[in-house]
């Protein structure tokens, strides 16, 4: 799915602009996501990577407008989906988007399915709700969708309960549920993290196949750069609630500009780089309520930090075509 030279860029499906999400906590408001922006075009897979707690899930849930408010609140920003700002949608209109035009799958296939209902009911519900199908039609279509995501014996599995299925099958059920209404956008929040390595590969392959077949766009959230290398067209790297680098996948892997990305790259042995660096980056991610003010959040851990990095927040600026980086002293400058 990569490497195709498309002369005119495909239409934009999702454009997040300057999104800042805060949480009201007992000790005051904290920002989990700050000035995040990215663009996802039709038929592309955008990877959103970063360490645990950097705000990937919050970003995804903000797009779905599923953050609990309170405590969460969107401080600023726009979430343009097919050129309409989701943040302006009333709740009932937003419901016609969720599960219909945007599907979502989660990290934990074990707990993301309701244990009290058959998988057929849970998939069919989407069709009945969004497509107005009756029970029989929904059931027939459910079996088709299940077959479409590679669930064998779908005709009998449709009446099974989640606990009767393996983790990989459950994630396929989740995918079937998310894709039942042919969404334009699929948000996959670490869809393979909880699975065995072999099953991981199967699920990633499946997602790639389905993405191509259905010509949908995918926002693939992961902290695994290997997954990114295999699946994505474009990558946005998040650090402590901000996007620090955004680039086409090959460009990012061959010429990482941000010292944080650079550090991450050298942490993946399977890319065949010389492992001169430590497998993990030294230091800690600043916690939400202890983020330094008015400086680069990575400065404390950064081997290239200069004096300016402690004075000013670096903005995300374009370096090459499609390659943006938020750093005062990037690699390869």
């Amino acid at each position: 799915m990569t490497g195709k030279e498309t002369p005119a860029p495909a239409e934009t499906v999702l454009a997040v602009r300057d999104l800042t999400v805060g949480f009201a906590t007992e000790t005051g408001a904290v920002r989990a996501v700050e000035s995040v922006g990215f663009t996802l075009r039709r038929g592309r897979i955008l990877g959103l990577v970063g360490e645990s707690g950097c705000g990937k899930s919050v970003t995804a849930m903000a797009v779905m407008r599923l953050l609990p408010t309170p405590p969460a609140f969107v401080e600023s920003g726009r979430i343009l989906f097919d050129d309409e700002d989701l943040l302006t949608f009333p709740e009932n209109r937003m419901r016609t988007v969720r599960g219909n035009r945007i599907g979502m799958i989660f990290q934990e296939p074990m707990t993301s399915l309701n244990p009290c209902f058959t998988v057929g009911f849970q998939i069919g519900e989407v069709l009945r709700f969004h497509r107005g199908m009756n029970r029989d039609a929904a059931r027939d279509r459910t079996v088709e969708v299940m077959e479409g995501v590679g669930i064998g014996a779908a005709g009998s599995r449709v009446d099974q309960y989640p606990h009767q299925l393996s983790g990989g099958l459950r994630q396929r059920v989740m995918i079937a549920m998310a894709l039942a209404c042919d969404p334009r956008l699929l948000i996959a929040d670490e869809p393979t993290t909880a699975l065995d390595v072999t099953v991981q590969a199967q699920i990633l392959n499946l997602l790639a196949q389905l993405q191509e077949r259905l010509d949908m766009s995918v926002l693939l959230i992961t902290h695994d750069l290997g997954v990114v290398a295999e699946s994505c067209d474009h990558v946005a790297v998040m650090y402590a609630g901000r996007i620090v680098e955004s680039a086409p996948v090959e460009d990012l892997f061959t010429r990482p500009a941000h010292p944080y990305t650079y550090g991450l790259m050298s942490a993946i042995p399977r890319l065949g780089r010389r492992s001169e660096y430590l497998p993990t980056i030294a230091g800690m991610v600043p916690s939400l309520d202890h983020r330094p003010v008015g400086q680069c959040y990575f400065a404390e851990r950064c081997p290239r930090a200069g004096e300016r990095c402690f004075r000013e927040i670096p903005p995300l600026t374009s370096r090459r075509e499609n390659h943006e980086c938020a750093c005062w002293n990037p690699h390869d400058a």
């Binding site: 599923l66 989660f106 993301s112 709700f129 309960y161 549920m177």
Partner: protein, 306 residues
């Protein structure tokens, strides 16, 4: 299924046997002497002794117990000391009234407790949640006879909608059942709330929202189906708590049920009736639990009959 039932019936027999031992010992530890209660104050020692012999109360306790159990397994609950009638006949004649009250009480408990608990859970920490929980606490902590008298005062005296007491029509049932419903509903609302709060945090609730389901459907279908299990278990256990309440409420409302029978028997130290009522209550509890265990696998397929 067969194995499950066999196991449960075995357990039930053991429990019931234990119950008979405990009630038997307890009723003889009561400070009052049933024989003297029967004979009256002016009876001669000879009369007292003859009554004692007649009732078999002159024999050692273990012998009495063995005799009691031997008759019990033949379905003989004994005779009332005072009324001389069969205990089983007395209980049977009063069972329908108490069962009716039980159904009415559970109806009001659920009618009050479930919506209050669900509503509270969805508004956790907000003023409406605090208010509901304050009310449920009041319902739980107020003595049942106070609730009963309050209801009588409000809805039979001030606004004469319901009769002051008695038995016969559905109208007679409302106030006694509501009394039990208010005190029990407090428990149900707390249980419902905590189960619901727990379930609303689950990943599958987030999934249901991500599917575009209405909040109403998320709560009443996806979450409730999971949160209702502890409620079902509680209904099964409730029969024991209910019997204690029935003693009070049946007396307040003149409801001719087993509770009233038990209350009179306790005052008269009519041990066969006390034993019989306790045993019937225990059987009720065992059956209630069994029923709850049989229903739950239908609601949660992960539960298997073990």
């Amino acid at each position: 299924m067969i194995r499950f039932l066999a196991k449960r019936i075995g357990q039930a027999v053991a429990i019931l046997l234990g119950v008979t031992v405990v009630t038997f010992v307890l009723s003889f530890l009561m400070p009052a002497d049933p024989v003297r209660m029967l004979a009256g104050r002016s009876a001669t020692p000879e009369t007292v002794e003859s009554i004692r012999r007649e009732l078999g109360l002159d024999q050692p306790l273990p012998v009495q117990y063995v005799k009691y159990i031997t008759r019990l397994v033949q379905g003989d609950f004994g005779r009332s000391y005072r009324q001389k009638t069969e205990v089983s006949a007395l209980i049977l004649s009063r069972l329908p009234a108490t069962l009716l009250l039980l159904l009415g009480a559970i109806f009001f408990e659920l009618l009050i407790g479930m919506p209050a608990g669900i509503f509270s859970a969805t508004r956790r920490g907000r003023p409406s949640d605090n208010w509901i929980m304050a009310f449920s606490f009041a319902g739980v902590s107020m003595p049942q006879f106070v609730i009963g008298l309050l209801l009588l005062y409000l809805f039979a005296h001030m606004l004469p909608i319901f009769p002051l007491g008695g038995y016969g029509t559905l109208n007679h049932l409302v106030l006694p059942a509501l009394t039990l419903g208010i005190s029990g509903g407090g428990w149900y609302s707390r249980m419902m709330r905590s189960a619901m709060v727990d379930v609303l945090r689950k990943d599958y609730v987030r999934t249901a929202r991500a599917k575009g389901m209405t909040e109403r459907r998320v709560i009443l279908v996806h979450a409730l189906r999971n949160a209702i299990l502890p409620i079902i278990a509680m209904i099964g256990l409730d029969i024991g708590i209910f019997m204690a309440g029935a003693v009070v409420v049946e007396s307040v409302f003149g409801w001719p049920g087993i509770g009233q029978l038990a209350w009179q028997a306790i005052q008269m130290v009519d041990i066969p009736i006390i034993m019989g009522v306790t045993l019937v209550a225990a059987i009720g509890i065992v059956l209630g639990n069994l029923l709850a265990d049989l229903v739950m696998p239908f609601l949660d397929p992960r539960l298997q009959l073990e």
